[in-house]
Symmetry: C2
Subunit: 364 residues, 2 copies
């Protein structure tokens, strides 16, 4: 193994994607004296406003990628659907962190599940679905119920069909335009939790406290920390996340979503999916921890030591979706709230416009 | 009184000066969805890297100022020596906050002292010095000792002569190139403390906890919060700072430096000077409070409500001066430290390159 590239203050981290995650990464990097160069095809990217440099070009524009790579000392991304050839092309010129393998695994639900099973963490039963015959067989094995999901490009509930009875199955694959899919066994999960885990170039791993997440219309609405789970469950969640990061030889921050099934002594965690990037359910770290997930990610990408993931306060993060951002004056008036707005011009329905962290003293 | 201008997220705050203070204001504004436009004659200004727009021009370039004002919804500054005509010219086009009066008062030590005395806060005895005769008379009145300071453009100990005996007085005015000066009575002060106070456009005032400051070579080295003073003294300091802000009809964050003389029941505070801007001795707020002084300032300048000045942790801020910034890897390794670097290329002696906030749980 070669010596990993380590940046110095004043160096530039390239970021693929110019949305709110890229923006908050750039802001966190700037606090550490790191410059950011945002690469995004959208000329109105909110991250451009806070970056030292930006490039507007398609992810397939090889000439633009070459210039970009030549101006950065390390490259990261804010979304997992970075085209594989783009990542590989860049990685040959400048270290791409978390890395090409993390992208590959998380871009395909089937590979992701196979990887997770191989990493030794618990996941829901699943089956590969390429045809109606596959679907029929899998449903028979899963008690007639399941969630059918496209293998690629699904997010915020898009590319999914819930199958609760035989009639739901008819036409399900057609709804997904016969894209390669996966059927997941339907689990009576109680709650959704997530862990933000970080790993540095030397293999040190550190996870933040478990967050309990509530979704509305398939979009994250709140993350509450601490989650109401037993200490053992919280510790198990952290260990699973650390195990996943280590198995991927990961560098940076990763979001690991889990389902919490059963209760009491039967409390059980199943990993749902991983996101090889900073994660919406980790925004609470900005105001409840000394090191935010964004700073942590930039440290790791720079080849630096991780910061402490300790939490100094209890917190509830609430996403501001669509015109909810118009509540900003009321939020500014709340003494324990910290407002974060993303600088997006248009508040379209379902669009993440900002979030608020509400902080209280740590219990116990 | 006319209705004050209030900004909306997406609006632009202009910042005169592109150093670390402007940079940290821009970063704090970005978290709230505010854009920044930096105006600075120095083409290598560290604030440019994180701002949406910047202008490189002298502060006397009226055409550049006009374009700048037309692109901003409010304007602020990071240093108190903004030329008066520049501030007045801009203020006629776009609200300048904290305001022209705060600049005038803080640019001239003599006016500042007269203002402070008028505001009803305690300050050391002082005398206006325009000639050797003035100096002789004042020294006679102040027991033969004092600090002679130029009225304008002094900072970090520059423009000062300490007079402890008659021989020190000879040539003192010549050392200051016969600039108009002020003699301050030498006080046996024990310690230096400061308060960061904020005031919004509606007149609401809120001060942060008192910080205890240690200087080295006339440059701030550390700020410790809480300061080791009685609760009464801390409260009196806060009240004095709030009184000063109100007297100036101030909008924004202001640093108020004070001397702490005597001890126990004789503990006494004398205001030393005010800085009409975010202040180095307030950097601790970034990691020990929900609202940093930078966010607080941007809120006030935007015409928004102030945030809570409550402190969730104890903290010691240490400035990284000159090549001390080379200790960044060690600082990153400290679990309770948060590093801030300013993105300055060259670590010249005496230059502020960054700072570190070391956080511990709040006592009591």
């Amino acid at each position: 193994m070669s010596t990993p590239v380590r940046l110095r203050p004043g160096d530039t981290i390239g970021i693929l994607g110019g949305g709110q995650l890229g923006r908050m990464m750039a802001l966190a990097g700037a606090s550490l004296g790191l410059k950011s160069h945002i690469f995004c095809p959208d000329p109105d990217s909110p991250a451009f406003e806070v970056a030292d440099a930006y490039t507007v070009a398609p992810y397939e524009d090889v000439a633009a990628l070459d210039v970009f790579a030549s101006q950065c000392q390390a490259i990261t991304y804010e979304f997992e659907n970075v085209p594989g050839p783009t990542a590989a092309h860049l990685d040959a010129r400048c270290p791409v962190r978390p890395g090409v393998r993390a992208l590959e695994v998380s871009q395909d639900r089937m590979w992701e599940k196979e990887f997770l099973r191989g990493a030794g963490v618990d996941i829901a039963d699943f089956a590969r679905i390429d045809s109606d015959g596959d679907l029929e067989a899998a449903l028979a094995a899963f008690d007639g119920q399941g969630v059918l999901k496209t293998r690629r490009f699904g997010y915020d509930g898009k590319g999914q069909v819930m199958i609760r009875q035989a009639s739901d199955a008819r036409g399900a694959l057609a709804t997904l335009k016969h894209a390669p899919a996966v059927l997941e066994r339907l689990i009576g999960f109680e709650r959704e939790v997530s862990v933000i885990v970080s790993r540095d170039v030397d293999g040190n791993v550190s996870a933040y406290d478990l967050a309990e997440n509530v979704h509305e219309h398939h979009i994250l609405k709140t993350s509450t920390v601490p989650a109401s789970v037993s200490g053992e469950t919280a510790e198990r969640a952290r260990r699973m996340a650390e195990q996943i990061a280590a198995s991927l030889d990961y560098v940076g921050v990763m979001g690991v979503e889990m389902f919490l099934c059963g209760s009491g002594a039967d409390e059980r965690l199943l990993v749902n999916e991983i996101a090889p990037r900073v994660h919406n359910s980790g925004h609470w770290t900005q105001d409840a921890c000394l090191t935010s997930q964004f700073e942590q990610h930039m440290r790791a990408v720079a080849g630096w030591q991780l910061g402490s993931t300790e939490r100094h306060s209890d917190v509830v993060m609430e996403n501001l979706i669509g015109d909810e951002c118009e509540r900003w004056p009321q939020i500014l008036a709340e003494p324990n709230a910290r407002l974060h707005l993303y600088g997006k011009a248009e508040a379209r329905p379902g669009r993440k416009m900002g979030h608020v962290n509400r902080i209280t003293s740590k219990r116990g």
